[in-house]
């Protein structure tokens, strides 16, 4: 084996801390400058890394031992009965732990042993007592459990077996006491009785309701799997009971292992097959109720097909990295596809246990049941059912032969998934803005650009270079795509600029490029360029009706840049199209997003009317989701915020303020939501004559927003707010500033932060071509020394004026005297 040098080790170790491949390469360039040998050695090690991790993780998992192994290895005869060592668990049979007397062992789990025990104080009853046999930090485990026990005690549901108590044995192991459930694992129960699909679904419905109950009490199970769902018979009626609430969280502390103790957690993690992608991530990503929804999906999958979406052995045996990768990236086969792919024997067995012919089983599962399952198994948790009762409702609809919410993925969606897999390292959470398409009005602009291009060239020459141009375009797109994958956006941008607009052709590659570049520009505040890229995306995408909430989220991305470039024309058109596309949707998340994206500036009556239908969808969803304390994830507060904005635009100040305040009571919110809510509150306060409060709220909102924009934006996410959330917040902020601090019009006008009178006109207007047929006014904006010309024109029939902002900031002329501030 080649000996290593500390230098090689040091560079290698430093290099593996850097995730981004481009930055890692840069680091290596620097660190190994001039030393080709060093570079080669380190590259070799880096190359070996993946395989090494896998080998050792695998090896650790596989270091299993049986008694015979140990004896045989030693050549010694088996131990005689009385020579046995007394194990801590054993000696207590008949003995006591706390107030409990152990009677009998009733089960053995991945991490513990379950006993039937008799409770003596304060009441006499039979309970189940589970002793965790792993060596772990018992004090903290119990503390965590106790912390949640209040909430656990509040649970009261026929299908939940409650945890009652926790403590430590004499030997320092944690134990949990639970309601005794004499029953069978649900999968075994169903299989042994060869239950039809329908009764299986009935059992599943009850489980959903139980989980819903727990979620409303703020308890996430985190470890839903068949062995945690026992079915008992109550007068001949099967009753499923979910057990082990609170235990997973207590043991893992809410986050699964850091690397150093992964072996302990590995053992706990008995069934990674049931883990949601975000749980598999195993860092401090917060796991919420939708993680349970995912696990319910796996359960449903297994009840229907007899298999889990991913093979459990494969998950555990190929090592930790692979497991994570599979759960987070690989798409599971649809249940009917899984069945269809089974060998005949297995399919027959599954069908037998479901009391149906094999062919009919596949056919039965295909369609609605497929889509329901797939919806719960979405990697993106925002796409799953929001609550367990929503899932239950859909299943109920299926049972009543009514149409279900879940639907087969549109071509756009499949296309999105495809792009997602080949996505740039930009780590965007937003799917392809394919939904941007469908005539969002940007085509007129493209038309202008194109006309411009053509006017500058000789038509004859154009035709000749047309063919070559197309080929060049193709090549440039490919090169741009490669650059995007590398994270080299400058290069990609340069490539794209070389392609005349007319040569944009439909392709996945191009879509990905435009999308990535659009977001990249936006994050750096280059709004014009960003809108251009989104427009390009329009041209290269397929059109399809997609009312998903991901599609709606894409709207949010596109809307902000349009306001930023003060292109109210386009924004109007964009908003009208958005409303038209999502008219009639019942998806509250999509509806919320359309409302929010459409109300960045005031709207006409007709627009408001069409928006009100969408607002109703949002309102209804809020009402049925239960109390505002119900966990709905970090995206939930946007709903009341959108409604607040709606009310505000309608002039209902008090109602808007109520909604705004309601959104701030949600337990999970990100800073963008808080800032936006505050802005709306400040606007309302001002309208209601409460100036002091208005100023206070505005100040509170302003700080985080300005902080965000004090440097380049980051992509963001659910926890901190997406970049477009912040962009939209800033737009509202300007409005608030204009209204509260300035004397400007109540429209989205960047307004004067100081209370001085608008200054008098200075100098003469610069000659230039005005793009509008009838310019009404020209203004100059001045803030921090940057001056821009604003043209304000009144569009016939629309209440709000449109604005056009100049690109450069050198001006010496204005007319009329309104002064605006630039953010």
């Amino acid at each position: 084996m080649k000996p290593s040098t500390p230098l090689e080790d040091g560079v290698y170790y430093a290099a593996i801390q850097i995730e981004d491949p481009a930055r890692r390469k840069a680091f290596l360039d620097q660190a190994c400058a001039g030393d080709a040998q060093l570079r080669a050695a380190v590259e070799e090690l880096l190359d070996a890394r993946a395989g090494a991790e896998r080998l050792f993780a695998q090896g650790a998992l596989a270091l299993n031992v049986s008694a015979e192994t140990l004896q045989a290895a030693n050549g010694a005869p088996p131990l005689a009965g009385d020579d046995r060592v007394k194990l801590p668990d054993d000696e207590q049979l008949g003995g006591r732990i706390g107030h409990y007397r152990l009677v009998q062992k009733i089960g053995e789990g991945g991490c513990g042993t379950v006993y039937l025990a008799e409770q003596e104080e304060p009441v006499r009853r039979s309970v189940a007592l589970k002793i965790i046999k792993l060596g772990m930090d018992t004090k903290n485990v119990i503390a965590r459990f106790t912390a949640e026990s209040q909430a656990l005690a509040l649970m009261d549901h026929a299908n939940i077996a409650r945890a009652l108590d926790a403590g430590a044995t004499d030997t320092g192991r944690p134990y949990f006491v639970m309601e005794l459930v004499r029953g069978q694992k649900i999968t075994d129960y169903c299989d042994q009785r060869n239950l039809d699909i329908r009764p299986r679904l009935d059992l599943f419905l009850q489980i959903c309701h139980a989980i819903q109950h727990a979620h409303q009490k703020g308890i996430i199970h985190r470890d839903i799997k068949p062995s945690n769902i026992l079915v008992t018979q109550d007068d001949g009626v099967p009753v499923p009971k979910v057990i082990d609430f609170g235990i997973a969280k207590a043991i893992t502390g809410g986050r699964l292992a850091n690397n150093t103790v992964f072996t302990a957690s590995e053992q706990f993690m008995g069934t990674p097959a049931y883990m949601s992608p975000e749980q598999a991530q195993m860092n401090s990503v917060d796991v919420d109720t939708r993680s349970d929804i995912y696990s319910l999906g796996v359960l449903l999958y297994e009840l229907l097909t007899g298999k889990t979406p991913f093979d459990p052995r494969e998950l555990t045996e190929t090592g930790l990295d692979n497991m994570r990768h599979t759960l987070r990236e690989m798409e599971p086969p649809r249940p009917s596809a899984m069945l269809a792919a089974l060998p005949a024997g297995e399919l027959a067995e599954a069908a037998l246990h479901r009391h149906i012919e094999p062919g009919r089983l596949t056919a039965l599962v295909r369609g609605d049941l497929d889509w329901i399952v797939i919806k719960t198994l979405e990697k993106d948790r925002a796409r799953r059912y929001e609550t367990a009762s929503e899932l239950a409702l859909d299943i109920q609809r299926y049972l009543n032969s009514e149409p279900v919410l879940a639907s087969p993925p549109s071509r756009i969606y499949q296309f999105q998934k495809l792009v997602r897999r080949n996505r740039a390292t930009f780590a965007a959470a937003v799917a392809v803005t394919a939904a941007l398409c469908l005539g969002l009005g940007l085509s007129t602009w493209l038309f202008f650009k194109e006309r411009q291009a053509h006017q500058e060239a000789d038509l004859q020459k154009q035709r000749a270079v047309d063919l070559r141009g197309k080929a060049d375009a193709r090549e440039n797109i490919t090169l741009a795509a490669i650059a995007v994958n590398r994270g080299d956006f400058e290069e990609a941008n340069a490539r794209v600029q070389k392609i005349p607009v007319a040569y944009f052709y439909p392709s996945l590659e191009a879509a990905n490029v435009f999308r990535s570049l659009g977001v990249w520009h936006a994050l750096h505040g280059r709004w014009m360029e960003a809108s251009y890229q989104f427009a390009g995306l329009l041209q290269v995408n397929q059109f399809e009706n997609d009312q998903s909430d991901a599609a709606a989220r894409d709207l949010l991305e596109a809307g902000a840049p349009l306001i930023e470039i003060a292109d109210q024309d386009r924004y109007e058109h964009f908003r009208r199209e958005a409303i038209r596309r999502f008219a009639g949707t019942t998806n509250p998340v999509a509806a919320e997003r359309v409302v929010r994206a459409s109300l960045l500036v005031p709207a006409s009556l007709t627009t408001m009317n069409s928006l009100s239908l969408l607002a109703e969808v949002v309102a209804k969803s809020l009402a049925t989701a239960g109390s505002s304390a119900a966990p709905g994830g970090l995206e939930a507060p946007w709903k009341p915020i959108a409604l607040a904005l709606m009310e505000y635009r309608q002039g209902h100040w008090a109602e808007a303020a109520d909604r705004g305040r309601a959104s701030l009571t949600f337990p999970d919110k990100n800073p963008a939501e808080i800032a936006t809510a505050r802005l709306i509150l400040s606007l309302c306060d001002h309208r209601l004559g409460q100036d002091a409060e208005a100023l206070a709220e505005l100040a509170l909102a302003r700080t985080p927003i300005q902080a965000q924009f004090s440097q380049d934006l980051i992509q963001g996410g659910e926890a901190e707010g997406y970049w477009f959330d912040w962009a939209m917040a800033r737009i509202l902020m300007r409005e608030a500033i204009g209204l509260i601090e300035g004397s400007a019009q109540p429209v989205n006008v960047p307004a004067n932060p100081s209370k001085a009178d608008p200054p008098k006109p200075q100098a003469t207007l610069m000659p230039g071509r005005c793009p509008f047929a009838q310019p009404a006014r020209i203004f100059m904006a001045d803030f921090g020394g940057r001056r821009r010309l604003y043209l304000r024109a009144q569009r016939f029939g629309i209440a709000t004026p449109t604005f056009r902002r100049s690109r450069t900031d050198e001006y010496s002329g204005i007319q009329a005297g309104w002064i605006y501030a630039n953010s």
Binding site: S4, R49, V65, L70, A72, L87, K133
Partner: protein, 185 residues
């Protein structure tokens, strides 16, 4: 068990030849513990080696002395013991597989964990031997982490080095071992 405590204490006082003794004792203890456990399990049940080690530790210190130094020594020894056990086991299975007819153990009686990559373990062991010659610290760390299942903190305390060093050595060792193993396949 008492023997072990005694030896551990003498180690604590700086007795070095006690470590060989410790290894033997720990080895015995692990064997007994596993046997006792397995006797009441269904055949074919297996447990994780590291769970066994931790359990042995709990047993050992049930009556109180959880001294950190002792623990480090114990785990170090247990890791070595475990390695020995597992390698012996892997070798036996490899021999059996290749029809080496020495032992007359009926193949059905040998209840082994279903999917032990024996050859992998043997290769890791061989690679470790080589690593031992060149870089004993790395090798020790590998034994403690891989066979003993110790955390970075435990290894660091045991060897008297920083956690970061442990992490670095572990990462580098894995890569190097794998590279060598890969060449052998």
């Amino acid at each position: 068990m008492n023997d072990i405590t005694v030896v551990l204490q003498s180690l604590g006082r700086g007795g070095s030849q006690a470590s060989e003794q410790l290894l033997t004792l720990v080895y015995e203890e692990l064997r007994r513990l596993a046997a006792a456990r397995m006797a009441r399990e269904s055949p074919g049940q297996t447990i994780q080696a590291t769970a066994l080690v931790h359990e042995a530790w709990l047993q050992l210190t049930a009556n109180g002395d959880r001294n950190w130094q002792n623990r480090a020594h114990f785990f170090g020894a247990a890791a070595d013991a475990m390695r020995r056990i597992l390698i012996d086991n892997a070798r036996r299975k490899a021999r059996l597989k290749h029809g080496g007819g020495q032992s007359r153990v009926n193949i059905e009686d040998v209840q082994l964990a279903e999917r032990t990559p024996d050859e992998d373990v043997l290769l890791i062991d061989e690679a470790l031997e080589r690593l031992q010659a060149e870089d004993p610290e790395k090798a020790r760390i590998v034994v403690m982490k891989f066979f003993g299942g110790l955390t970075n903190e435990e290894v660091a305390q045991s060897l008297g080095i920083s956690e970061r060093t442990v992490d670095r050595q572990w990462a580098c060792a894995k890569a190097r071992l794998f590279r060598w193993i890969r060449e052998q396949r």
